[in-house]
Symmetry: C2
Subunit: 368 residues, 2 copies
């Protein structure tokens, strides 16, 4: 057992069992005589890894027929371009919900390809909440509605899936597009409510360098904007089982191990309960204290990323240094925000969160 706990926002902690298995298989995967890194992506060994990874994801997330799973590269930032390039279609218009830095990046990139309408925003309260559905205004003829299910930097998470058909004047067939990068697979989610979901792997899924896309098949028929590169077309991946060119094979292998681990944890419903319990430990401590502070609206707080500040920010460095000596790693807040951030993804064990809570209480006693 390792003696450290890693609270990085991503790339982030992986299950110890996964790393142990990867270590075990590093030079020789299942008697093949090869490391997974050395396998032809078209050989039967890697094909079996990829198929198993995909089918386990489909089972875990209960992804229905009519949706394709695609394995891509380039991070969520590439999706910020791929979504509009592939889905804007003839309308050239899209609606975006603005909830913090990640949704803003998505908006800025989309605006380079079409006309972006802000359907809702939490800017007026400093991006510390998820705009209630009653405030959403969908523009007529929009090609899709995009939102960010969890703002990794701001620590704001949607605890509900928007029902676009409940919005006055909204067309029921508008595809809902979600950036799930930082809470993908942390709870059950009804895929059938979405047109397209994407998620960078480096939070709950695996290493950096892999992006998952789940796309409703009819959306593959929208003609991409002219000038969309071959590797930026979803159809290139859908038509070639994500093997038009070499996929990031080792990242997919690690993802497969994480999917198996997640199944052993009891799947998404079970991991959700653990994630709720873990997050509550820290939020309860913060709310009971005047020494720690979290600015996020209680109903919209992220279970994955907990940003918090000390009442005396001159203690930040001491806090981080002492946390480090307690084996509590990478707690520094995002450079744009400061303070602290505890990212407690699926793979963060309860013991890690308990250790963080104990340290926070001790630090408060010593410095309050």
């Amino acid at each position: 057992m390792r003696k450290t706990y890693n609270f990085s926002a991503g790339p982030a902690v992986l299950p110890e069992e996964v790393l142990e298995q990867a270590r075990e298989e590093m030079l020789d995967w299942h008697g093949s005589g090869m490391s997974v890194m050395e396998m032809s992506h078209r050989g039967k060994e890697f094909m079996s890894i990829m198929d198993k990874t995909e089918s386990t994801l489909r089972e875990l997330a209960d992804i229905p027929a009519g949706y394709k799973i695609l394995f891509l590269q380039g991070g969520a930032l590439s999706q910020f371009a791929m979504v509009p390039m592939n889905l804007l279609g003839e309308s050239g218009k899209a609606d975006y919900v603005q909830t913090g830095q990640w949704s803003e990046k998505a908006i800025n990139e989309a605006a380079r390809y079409g006309s972006v309408h802000i359907a809702a925003s939490s800017e007026s309260d400093g991006f510390n909440s998820a705009p209630p559905l009653a405030q959403w205004k969908i523009s007529p003829g929009t090609a899709y509605v995009h939102y960010t299910t969890n703002e990794t930097i701001g620590g704001v998470e949607f605890q509900w899936i928007p029902d676009l058909s409940a919005i006055a004047g909204s067309d029921k067939t508008i595809p809902l597009v979600a950036d799930m990068s930082s809470n993908f697979l942390s709870r059950p989610f009804d895929v059938s409510k979405f047109g397209l979901i994407y998620a960078g792997a480096q939070k709950n899924v695996g290493p950096a360098g892999l992006v998952l896309v789940i796309i409703r098949e009819d959306l593959l028929d929208v003609a991409p904007l002219s000038g969309t590169p071959t590797m930026y077309r979803y159809k290139t991946y859908a038509d070639n089982a994500s093997m038009y060119n070499t996929p990031p094979t080792y990242a997919i292998y690690i993802m497969g191990l994480v999917m198996e681990w997640l199944k052993k944890q009891g799947g998404l419903a079970a991991i959700e309960q653990r994630n709720i319990a873990k997050a509550r430990l820290i939020y309860d401590l913060i709310d009971a204290s005047s020494f720690y502070h979290c600015p996020v609206n209680r109903a919209d707080r992220s279970r994955m990323n907990i940003p918090f500040t000390l009442s005396d920010s001159s203690l930040d460095e001491v806090f981080l240094k002492q946390a480090q000596t307690h084996g509590l790693l990478q707690l520094k807040g995002h450079r744009s925000v400061g303070g602290m951030r505890a990212s407690i993804y699926n793979a963060m064990p309860l013991e890690g969160v308990q250790a963080l809570a104990a340290f926070m209480q001790e630090f408060e006693r010593n410095h309050a």
Copy 2:
């Protein structure tokens, strides 16, 4: 020591020492308490890995000041779009040398963004040679000249760097662009002769999911085509030390270990001598036999990928099966070509090539 030799064209064999070190460090890199896969890309631990990887590459390949090294994702296929999108500029015209399947893919993608002129082609001899410089015709006002230094499928390798200034009527300042994916770092190469070099990592450098770009800094000032996605702009990487978003951290780490290994082998001049000796073993055997055949013009034969056929192709399956039982893996030819292909990148030890040669001779004795 492993008892197998892996002749995959890519992803491909990695040095055993590299895999052993990766195994050793899997759960805890240098006492950090973290796997490299779990590190924040902006933390001091990963930054040190990235800096070292880059500086070792710069030293090994003798990359002069005035050239940036960029770490990207998306494979060479993404470069097929990024090169024209970033370099076509106002002229909208580029010259390509056509030598086989990979250069053709580059040509087809570039033609989506501008006007492509075929400067030279080996199509008339079945793509079994590298067109001599005397046959190259550069079109006036071209933005760059692109060629593929090694055709991984066809097994054709340029043994020389084209000197564009020697071509009649050619503008001396035209940037030379090279896809070096499958022979990058297999021999010394004079970077100053190039405007831009790119290489997918999964042959001589590391795992799939990482692409290296070496770009002359003045080319970063060419305005990309409008509609070029943020993550398809070289400047995005150059201005942010390849950290505008999360780079493929683990692939970069493995690349760093491969760079260290390459240094220990004596660098590029030493590895070139080993690669020459390895390739000669197989080509000499093929040329001395009427049982095996390699179609490639002798002067242009690849040291990295050796395609060959049996005089009786009905024996192909037997050959591959028996090779497998001898621990000689992934020798099957590309699906578009058939026959066999032995890829013998830097990390393939001489012993592996000797084992292949011995097996080929034995197989010939038994079946000729």
